[in-house]
């Protein structure tokens, strides 16, 4: 198999030719209305926003910082502007069931008028009704009634008194009532004197007294009935006065709201209520009780008077109360009171008829909020209930507002993991969120995309209110976008990173007093970001350069190779070499993965080791037994190993251990391998190469070191300038390898050797040496087994 040529400078970096950018600064570019490369999301949004059927709510999924929120809000605002304005909603007092406020729907903007109308009415009631009660007419009629009452109440008593007086009988007031006794000249006759009266006289007096007593009894017993009658007549008079006073203002309101039957019905209820409470309005000094007038207020829950198109609401704290609204309480002398005017609408109310944007992670972290959203979407109405009531923790009397029908499109924003978890674990999720809008992480990098991407950068720069970018700065940013995408043919779509770099570059441009942002400012922003995140990386490199962590970058060693690993810390990642060593001795065909045994290896790593052990067996043991007891270890690695990107290095080091052929330490190896020995792509190649490059540079001069990487990874390379420089000067080499034999040849300098038709490798080839050594192992093992058998047989005999 021919050896691959090392990669050229052009192959390891896809530069952005400035001639493709047809502008001087980004000020020459127009804003981009729609983000480029997000067609899938835009189509999903377009569909989801227009789809009327139930359950077609949206879940916009993409990594955090991808600009989901800005895009969705911008899109929905444009979309919603063409839609009708939803109605206003208000709560009013329910005169029939005072704890269940009624909901009234009014065309947009009319809620305010209704509220004002009712407030004016209440104000009018406050003054007009007491004035009516003050009027001469009312006072005169009341006076008549009262006089009549007094007359009727006392007339009977006076008549009896008069009758008694006429008959010379006194009607005396006792502490508890009345009594009768014969009198003379206004004084009661002494009982002793009475005894001297004749029997006829006594008879006459006593029968008269008895008659009077009976009459008095009857009269007194009629008084309560009379009083009640008079009270009823006073009440009727009060009602009449109120009806007359109310006629004008309520009539006007009724006329105005004739087109809304709910409002008319409510106004009729108000009229009846005022009449019923007429007496409460009578107190002209203090006016009617505030609580009474408060009942005629209108609680305007949703006011769309200033709304243009359908509302687009973003709820940044989507807890249960903020979403569904709440019933507030007023503290008064240590007690809590509430009424329908303290009902507050939530974002669901405000978004009714439009769109509600919510962050999925936030809504899931709020107690009951997710359940509340689902309940509203399933039932199509918003019911305002407090959490403690839902949980059954309180049972005090509270308001139960009439539920308001809702038609809202909920747009959840979240990362992909959340979407897939919800789809899997929440059976309601896919019923309610049928539209999936999946953000692209990367955009294709081709000749057409340069202009769009430049315009996107220009739009971002203008949104950030920063200096314009020079053409070369845009080119540098495009190159960096490819590096961020880790692909020569892609550009990152990650909004936040680009914005951050732009803002930083603007800052550095400002520091240097430049009017525009130039390529050097972009580079400075990139370098500064890298530097700020470099503490751990530098510590790690220092340990290598001081020899605490042992890495060889020169010479040859048996059973030792430089693997490459990537460490991710927060938003930054870096690569560094790791020494991988192997041991080999005769045994029973097992390769011990020390990392796995020590529980430091992940499952993918274990899988890779198993693949390599089967590769060894099939290639070198043929039809015989693989007699090998080998071990593999990542030296000085204490943090765990995962992934299969070291399987090429592990294979090479193991073969070196078996064959005792030394490996060149000036190379580092990355790549995964299948059972056929073919080399497959891995991730993080840029960081790995740069990590090894830096280690070599710190160990001394770069002189012929290099990296072996899978050929399929070449188009992922976007290496930094100093590496490219060393490649151009031939001091550092990157070999794209596609087969394990190529890696072996590059690392050992020996021919790997292909087997002939009988399965034999050529003489003096590397593979031959491996096969021979393994055959030797097999012999040793066999001999040992035979000896063991004899011993065990002898043992058996001895034991007899």
């Amino acid at each position: 198999m021919p050896l691959p040529a090392p990669l050229t400078e052009e192959q390891v970096y896809h530069g952005c030719p400035t001639e493709k950018l047809d502008f001087i600064t980004t000020d020459d570019l127009e804003d981009l209305e729609r983000p480029c490369g997000q067609d899938r999301v835009l189509r999903a949004l377009e569909f989801g926003a227009s789809m009327q059927a139930g359950g077609f709510n949206l879940f916009v999924l993409g990594p955090s910082g991808a600009g989901k929120h800005e895009l969705v809000e911008r899109f929905l605002s444009q979309h919603a502007a063409r839609q009708p304005v939803p109605p206003d909603w208000c709560h009013v007092f329910n005169f029939q069931f005072s704890d269940r406020p009624e909901a009234i729907r009014l065309p947009a903007g009319e809620g305010r008028q209704f509220k004002k109308g009712m407030s004016d009415l209440a104000e009018e009631l406050r003054t007009a009704i007491p004035a009516a009660f003050e009027s001469e007419e009312y006072q005169a009629r009341l006076q008549e009634l009262q006089e009549e009452m007094a007359k009727r109440q006392h007339q009977g008593l006076f008549e009896i008194q008069e009758e008694a007086n006429r008959n010379n009988i006194a009607m005396i007031t006792t502490p508890a009532g009345f009594t009768f006794a014969p009198m003379r000249k206004g004084e009661v006759i002494d009982p002793e004197e009475y005894k001297t009266f004749s029997d006829e006289e006594k008879q006459l007096i006593e029968s008269k007294v008895e008659e009077l007593q009976k009459k008095l009894q009857q009269t007194i017993q009629q008084i309560p009935r009379m009083r009640k009658e008079v009270r009823e007549r006073v009440h009727a008079l009060n009602e009449e006065m109120v009806q007359l006073t109310l006629g004008g203002p309520i009539g006007e309101l009724r006329e105005k709201w004739l087109h809304l039957p709910d409002v008319v019905a409510y106004l009729d209820a108000v009229r009846e209520d005022v009449v019923e409470h007429a007496e409460a309005f009578q107190d002209s000094d203090n006016g009617p009780p505030a609580g009474l007038l408060a009942r005629y207020k209108v609680n305007l829950l949703v006011d769309n008077a200033d709304t243009v198109g359908a509302p687009v609401i973003y709820e940044d704290l989507p807890n249960h109360q903020h979403l569904t609204g709440q019933i507030e309480h007023r503290a008064h002398q240590g007690n809590l009171y509430t009424d329908f005017t303290l009902i507050r609408g939530g974002s669901m109310h405000r978004a009714n008829g439009g769109y509600l944007i919510i962050d999925a992670r936030r809504v899931l972290t709020q107690p009951m909020a997710w359940e509340s959203i689902k309940r509203i979407l399933f039932s199509g109405e918003i019911r305002i209930e407090s959490l403690e009531r839902i949980y059954g923790l309180v049972s005090t009397v509270s308001q139960q507002p009439e539920p308001i029908p809702v038609s809202v499109k909920v747009v959840l924003l979240g990362d992909r993991m959340l979407y897939y978890l919800l789809s899997h674990y929440d059976p309601d999720f896919l019923d309610l969120f049928k539209v999936e809008a999946d953000f692209e992480d990367d955009l294709a990098r081709d000749d057409d995309s340069y202009e769009l991407y430049s315009r996107m950068i220009a739009t971002m720069a203008r949104a950030l209110e920063m200096r314009a970018l020079e053409r070369d700065a845009v080119a540098r940013l495009i190159e960096h976008a490819s590096r961020l995408a880790a692909d020569q043919r892609k550009l990152t779509a990650h909004d936040r990173v680009l914005r951050d770099i732009l803002s930083e570059a603007d800052h550095w441009a400002g520091q240097s007093g430049a009017d525009t942002v130039e390529a050097c400012h972009i580079q400075q922003a990139i370098d500064e970001r890298e530097y700020r995140a470099s503490r751990v990386r530098e510590r790690s490199r220092e340990q290598i350069s001081r020899g605490i962590v042992m890495i060889a970058t020169e010479g040859e060693e048996v059973a030792q190779v430089n693997g490459l690993s990537v460490l991710r810390l927060g938003a930054s990642m870096f690569g560094q070499p790791t020494r991988i060593t192997a041991t080999a001795r005769p045994g029973k065909g097992q390769v011990v993965d020390i990392e796995r045994e020590a529980k430091l290896g992940g499952p993918i790593h274990s899988k890779a080791v198993m693949i390599l052990s089967r590769f060894l067996a099939s290639r070198y043991a043929g039809e015989g037994d693989l007699s090998l007891s080998a071990s593999l270890a990542f030296e000085q690695s204490y943090g765990g190993v995962e992934g299969d990107s070291a399987s090429v290095a592990e294979t090479c080091v193991l073969l070196s251990a078996i064959s005792r052929v030394p490996l060149k330490q000036s190379f580092a190896v990355t790549g995964s391998m299948n059972q056929q020995g073919e080399i497959q792509a891995v991730g993080g190649v840029n960081e790995k190469i740069e990590g090894f490059f830096d280690v070599c540079r710190e160990a001394g001069e770069i002189r012929g070191q290099g990296v072996l990487l899978p050929a399929s990874n070449v188009e992922h390379l976007m290496l930094k300038a100093d590496v490219r420089q060393a490649i151009a000067e031939g001091r550092f080499r990157i070999y794209p390898v596609s087969d394990i034999n190529q890696a072996i040849e590059l690392l050992t300098g020996m021919e790997a050797g292909d087997p002939d038709s009988s399965g034999q490798f050529p003489e003096n080839s590397f593979n031959r040496r491996v096969a021979d050594r393994l055959a030797k192992f097999a012999e040793v093992s066999k001999k040992r087994d035979d000896d063991g058998d004899v011993n065990s047989k002898n043992g058996g005999r001895n034991s007899d």
Partner: protein
């Protein structure tokens, strides 16, 4: 000023009057003399074997027994003594209770002097608003040598005024103004001077009245009555937010046939000067 006499009969209204009396006494440093009269007519009527008592609210007729009546009166007298002591103690003054047996009017007239103030609650069933005045109150108003305050409990309005009714009888007017001045000193309320139908008052006399009342110009208002029927007067008193009315018994208002009806209609304390 002499003593403040208050008529006690065990009713709620009489205790309200006692409270007012104690307050006035405390203000003027006078002694409160409670008068509890065991009415002769009442005692006599209980002496009849056939006498029965008809309940004033229930209308139920019960036997009326002299022994029981004596006990009741004794109990009421005891209660009157305790209440008198308690109420006066609240205001910090002197008090005496006089218990007598006989006619209420005669007993009171025997006790009262020309410098005293006589305070009455509306008694018996005449205490209900709109009811006619009882014979006791009527008799005392007519014959008392001193001012009679016919007390009536009502809500005190902060914007109220003291209303004094004047006529053309100078002496009577003077007494009424003195009584009103007392009320004003205590309540610090503005005054309305009411004049009879078609009457007028010269400005120099008005100045004198103002001086006697001891009020500022802005705190005095003069109104002439359009008519003197009870309904008009009660309407005007309502408009003025009257908290107290001072009127001379010589005044035409109380000499007309409807005078008692007027007093009965007014639901506010009325001072009737001799």
């Amino acid at each position: 000023m002499g003593r403040v006499l208050v008529l006690l009969d065990g009713s709620r209204m009489s205790y309200a009057a006692l409270n007012a009396a104690a307050e006035i006494a405390a203000r003027t440093g006078a002694e409160v003399l409670g008068v509890f009269v065991e009415e002769l007519n009442l005692l006599r009527s209980a002496g009849y074997g056939f006498a029965r008592e008809v309940g004033s609210s229930s209308g139920i007729s019960r036997p009326f027994d002299p022994v029981e009546l004596e006990q009741r009166l004794e109990r009421l007298a005891g209660q009157a003594r305790r209440t008198l002591a308690g109420v006066v103690a609240n205001y910090g003054g002197r008090h005496t209770l006089s218990i007598a047996r006989g006619s209420v009017v005669d007993e009171v007239l025997a006790l009262v002097g020309p410098q005293d103030l006589l305070v009455l609650g509306r008694v018996g069933w005449s205490s209900a608003p709109g009811a006619r005045l009882g014979s006791t109150a009527r008799g005392l108003l007519r014959r008392s040598p001193t001012s009679v305050l016919l007390w009536c409990e009502r809500q005190v309005s902060p914007q109220g005024r003291v209303v004094v009714f004047l006529n053309d009888h100078d002496d009577a007017n003077r007494r009424a103004i003195m009584a009103a001045a007392q009320a004003v000193r205590h309540s610090l309320q503005p005054v309305t001077v009411l004049l009879g139908e078609g009457a007028d008052i010269p400005s120099d006399r008005l100045e004198l009245i103002k001086r006697d009342l001891g009020v500022a110009e802005s705190d005095m208002r003069v109104r002439t009555l359009p008519a003197t029927d009870p309904v008009t007067i009660s309407q005007i008193l309502r408009q003025e937010r009257a908290t107290q009315l001072v009127v001379s018994r010589e005044c035409a208002l109380l000499r007309q046939p409807g005078a008692e009806q007027l007093l009965a209609l007014l639901n506010l304390p009325v001072t009737v000067t001799p």
